[in-house]
Amino acid sequence: MDSKTSPAENKSFSNTYTLVAKIKPGQADTIRKVAKAGLEGGQWGSGSDVLGILHYQRFFIIEDKYLVFTSEFDGESDDSYLSDFYSMEITPGPSFGIFNSAWKYTEGWPGPGDRDAFIKFWKDNKVEELLTYSYYPGVTAKDVRKAVRLQKAFQSVLDQPGAAEALKHPALKALLAEASD
């Protein structure tokens, strides 16, 4: 841990959301099949990605008893976008279909069609995090995407003839400093 930065500065701007739901007896393998199909079908992520604030979503099965879902997303008010999430997925949204396909094998899952029941399930099964440490705090998913695009653009600039000459311009000093590796 960098001794110069305080714990507060290292607190991640993003939030982690973890849900733990009890799997209905004998259904763990069903969930495994659903996950495999979702991955192979290429649908996973394409819907919820539209939300734009997600860093990752992960599912785990523990001891064939518990389905754990954890995601990391941007923003400090973690419940603000629940309605949006529900709304985007309930109409032909591929991801909720996938959430529903996995969660319907857990106890208490209300299914699609009832927003309040969905939010209750979400909050009832939420697990509060003990600790998160971010090694690049304050970076949003959008920042990441922009940074990747910028990096690609910058690297292709470096490959252009005349790049070295252009980077000598005083305004481009900060870019020149990044050019050597």
Partner: protein, 439 residues
Amino acid sequence: MNLELDDIQNGALRPRPTPYAGVYILLRVDDRRAGRELLRRLLPALFDASHPADPGAKTWVSLALTFQGLKALGVPQASLDSFPLAFQQGMAARATMLGDVGEDAPECWESPLGRPEVHIAISAISPDTAHLEAVLAPAREALKNLPGVEAIWRQDCHVPADLRNPFGFRDGISNPGIEGSGIPGTNPQEQPFKAGEFFLGYPNEVGELPPMPAPEILGRNGTYLAVVKYHTRVAAWRQFLRANAAGPAEEDRLAAKMVGRWPSGAPLVLAPERDDPELGADRRRNDNFLYADEDARGLRCPMGSHARRMSPRDSSIIGVARIHRVLRRGTAYGPMLPEGVLEDDGVDRGIVFVFVGADLERQFEFVKKEWVNDGLFIGSKGEKDPMMGPNNGTGQFTIPQEPIRQRVKGLPAFVTNRGGEYFFAPGLRALRWLADLDS
């Protein structure tokens, strides 16, 4: 599904006539029977929404109640408990979450705003002051000889003939269409919204029949109002433009970029280079646009401009814009700061906003927290609404432009929250039910 127009309060549904003179009055109910008697006396003055073009309707009167007001009238506890949490708590209790801190905090609010003695709000609007007084006179009569109800606040307001707000911009242009209301929206390219977004008892955009306060007769056809009084720091606004632009034309351009429209109301998307007063005044055209095709990157209308934040339309944002649409009514108060004056004259002037919606959390509160107080939803974390946001002298506003975007820094707050509250605007049957309470 058709709205029960004959039960919805006219003032809640219909766009206001412009220009108009108006007044807001807040009342405290000390005796429940007196409160109910007041409702009985005022009911005949309340028009329902099925008489839009009634030439006799020279004045519109609306009535709404706070949670404390419902309590003061003696509404049964089980019914009180059925109201949503935000409404029960009231705006002041939720101020921190809403970003109303520092100068905007309830401790600084104009009394009695935000206090539990605010029970009933009456608003009356009229094409001119003479008609307004004509309606207020019987209202004053109704209040006389009614000890047990006290008027505790009054705010005169108006929309001037040129429809300009205190910053000099034509305001209140955009309104959503509401299914089953017979009222089209101002933007023909925007699909009308499910009635349940704005009135209780109907399906909403999230695809369901949302919970209503109980009993049904109380909840049905009602709606919630978020009322906020904003003092506008017009001199500071003009000083900022002067300091951040080279010359009057640049100042006008910067102001338009911050607002999202020109002073005439012409939207930047349709008039990217200069104001177009004809367009601004043309109701058929001044709201007839979307963003995605013409201006996805905000090169005409910045993503962070006020108008684009308040209604992102089909912009690429985080989340679903449609489930956060608010019906917004705004009126000005106080005299205009004379043109060309950059020094603050110490006069109170500003805007009283009324946001109408069936879900305070998903609509008003969400818009305030996510679209005014921050820019995460447009990928500009930390940037706030340039006109209405709680900037503190370090605010930043990005204007996309080619070849290099312009970034304006050091934005102060241009508005101060003087106070507000959440109200429930019942349907007419509900008002009769309240007047007939017998406990």
